[in-house]
């Protein structure tokens, strides 16, 4: 999978590249409007991560360029928080998703994975991990072919973890993902523990391996022991 990250802040670009590279994506980057335009013209990407505030040009103009050239890349728009207009115009112009800064990298990973899933497999939205199968279109989960019933939050948790395999996911990132950062106002993460416990139990009961590891003091990690 090939990604283009268009971001003018080196510190952020670094982290995004490093994190997504761990996920076996090939990441290329562009820091200016011109550079991004050139790369878009020359190469094909699976997903483009586009910061709207760019020196030398508007990220939305870049998006327009992509769409008029009928490029099929998925586009994830990234912009400063509270720029409601950016979100609306971006999505109207054909972006696949929108992420507000500052975001958690696992959130970015999950969004990119979702976009690629939708683009790549043309409707066959299957997310697999060993004996676990998640159909993200039908929102169903199966373990070795047996359906498992999950609550909305447990399902969201599972998809999130599966999209960020082998990564340490902080409780903050999980809370933000489950409830949006608006509601992340009470620094009490007990509820995450409850969801994780229930999810793990359901998966174990269905015969799946114990992949959901807790990482002391931080959060959780989806990995094969």
């Amino acid at each position: 999978m090939k990604l283009l990250i268009v971001e003018d802040e080196p510190g952020l670009l670094d982290s995004m590249t490093a994190y997504l590279s761990l996920e076996d994506y090939t990441c290329e980057s562009a820091m200016t409007y011109a550079e991004a335009l050139e790369k878009i013209d020359l190469y094909a990407y699976d997903c483009i991560l586009l910061d709207i505030m760019l020196p030398g040009g508007d990220g939305l103009a870049l998006l327009r360029e992509l769409k008029t050239n009928r490029k099929t890349e998925g586009v994830l728009i990234i912009s400063a928080k509270n720029k409601l207009e950016d979100k609306i115009t971006g999505l109207q112009m054909g972006a696949d998703d929108y992420l507000a800064k500052p975001f958690h990298l696992p959130e970015l990973g999950a969004r990119v994975a979702a976009i690629i899933r939708r683009k790549q497999f043309g409707g066959n939205n299957l997310l697999e991990y060993q004996e676990i199968q998640v159909d993200t279109q039908g929102r169903t989960v199966k373990v070795s072919g047996t359906p498992v019933t999950l609550t909305k939050k447990e399902y969201a948790l599972l998809v999130y973890l599966l999209s960020n395999r082998n990564k340490v996911i902080s409780k903050s990132a999980l809370a933000e993902h489950l409830w949006g950062d608006n509601m992340d106002m009470v620094d009490n993460y007990d509820f995450i523990y409850t969801h994780v416990k229930n999810l793990r139990k359901k998966l174990l009961d269905a015969g799946a391996g114990d992949y959901l590891q807790s990482v002391y003091g931080v959060g959780y990690k989806w990995t094969t022991p």
Binding site: E9, G11, K81, N82, S170, D190, Y216
Partner: protein, 402 residues
């Protein structure tokens, strides 16, 4: 009392006193002049009598002619050159004269009736003109004051309606009176400058908050990445999580400030009917996750508000009810047409309503920055809603009416 009225009152009281005193002085002067005139006439009469006596060595017969009377009587030893007497209605002159070696007292009297009449006529005419003058002055003054002060009141009205963040409507009064024109101009300049400064401050907050987001994003990203390093021990990981929490808090504070500035900049004034019910309903699980009992008693109701603000309002009110709750407490949400009330168990003491909606007012140490209720208040204000706080036996209630 209005300035004009105060001025008029004092002015006319003074005028009345002065006019009464003036009338009195006028009356006395005229009376003095008239009496003097009568005295002169009497002196001439005395001269005539004396001439008559010198010529004929006898007194003319006592007489009464029109308003004048002549009387005499012998009075031995009486010596008087001239003596004026005031009777009721008369003015008399008395003097002694010698006729054929004998002393006589002569009295010439003149009736003052005519003089008094004249005096009264003069007085009435004067009083009448003074009255007309007073009424005229009063009306004229009132008209003039009203016209002159009109621009002043316009300026006052302008100041009264002035709001830092709102548009400046109307203008100050224009006047060809230098002072008022200057006042109007100064007020306009001052308010314009205030608004400019305020806007600059708002923009500063906006930019500052905005510029903060990038470094925050970098920190957040780096922390997420650092956690992936294989060598980190539990101690480091725990510290990273704590750092993340602080960064998130900073980022939330930042967003709250941005939101407040944007509300004040009137970026959310477009309203549309928003159904609050689904917004509230989707918070149920979240409240339960904090181990609180939640009851939602809702009738579908629409509020006229910017959709983004509706969400923020609900988030802040619900967040507030959860954050300030007690372990195992309750949250009761009631939605009726035109009313939303959120009730929560909490500390057994009422909050200070005066400070409740102010920014950064934390009445109890809690995780929030103390901006949630300030945001609620701002949203209510800009959306034409009213928010009230009530306390009863350990239950805190926030009611929004719309």
């Amino acid at each position: 009392m209005k300035l004009a009225a105060t001025y008029q009152r004092f002015y006319f009281a003074l005028l009345a006193v002065l006019l009464v005193l003036g009338c009195l002085a006028y009356y006395l002067t005229i009376r003095y002049v008239l009496i003097h005139q009568v005295d002169n006439d009497l002196r001439i009469e005395q001269q005539e009598i004396q001439d008559f006596v010198r010529l004929h060595d006898s007194l003319p017969a006592p007489s009464r002619y029109r308003d004048q009377r002549l009387e005499w009587a012998p009075r031995p030893g009486y010596r008087e050159r001239r003596h004026f007497v005031d009777d009721d209605d008369d003015r008399s002159i008395q003097f002694s004269i010698q006729v054929k070696g004998e002393d006589y007292a002569v009295t010439i009297s003149k009736s003052l009736e005519e003089t008094e009449d004249l005096l009264w006529i003069i007085l009435w005419v004067t009083a009448g003109s003074i009255g007309v003058l007073l009424v005229g002055l009063f009306l004229g003054n009132r008209l003039l004051l009203r016209r002159i002060w009109q621009p002043f009141y316009q300026t006052l009205d302008y100041l009264h309606r002035f709001s830092l963040s709102g548009p400046r409507n109307g203008g100050t009064g224009t006047s060809n009176i230098d002072e008022f024109a200057l006042l109007g101009r100064s007020v306009e300049d001052m308010t314009a400058k205030m608004q400019r400064d305020y806007m600059a401050l708002q923009q500063f907050t906006d930019h500052a908050a905005h510029e903060m987001q990038t470094p925050l994003a970098v920190i957040k990203g780096k922390l997420d990445l650092m956690m992936q390093e294989p060598g980190s021990g539990p101690r480091q990981l725990e510290q990273m999580q704590q750092l993340l929490q602080s960064v998130n808090r900073l980022s939330r504070l930042n967003q709250s400030l941005l939101l407040l500035t944007r509300i004040e900049n009137r970026q959310f004034i477009e309203k549309e009917p928003v159904a609050l019910e689904p917004l509230l309903a989707e918070k149920q699980d979240w409240i339960r996750e904090h181990r609180l009992e939640v009851t939602m008693d809702m009738e579908p109701g629409m509020a006229n508000i910017h959709p983004f603000l509706a969400e923020s309002l609900v988030n802040n009110l619900v967040g507030n009810a959860v954050r300030h709750n007690i372990p195992g407490g309750k949250v009761l949400v009631t939605l009726r047409p035109g009313l939303l009330s959120i009730r929560n168990t909490g500390r057994a003491e009422p909050l200070d309503p005066a400070r409740l909606f102010q920014r950064f007012q934390k009445q109890h140490p809690s995780e929030g920055a103390g901006l949630g209720l300030a945001i609620v208040k701002e949203i209510a204000d800009i959306s034409g809603m009213e928010v009230r706080y009530g306390y009863e036996a350990g239950t805190h209630t926030f009611t929004v009416t719309f």
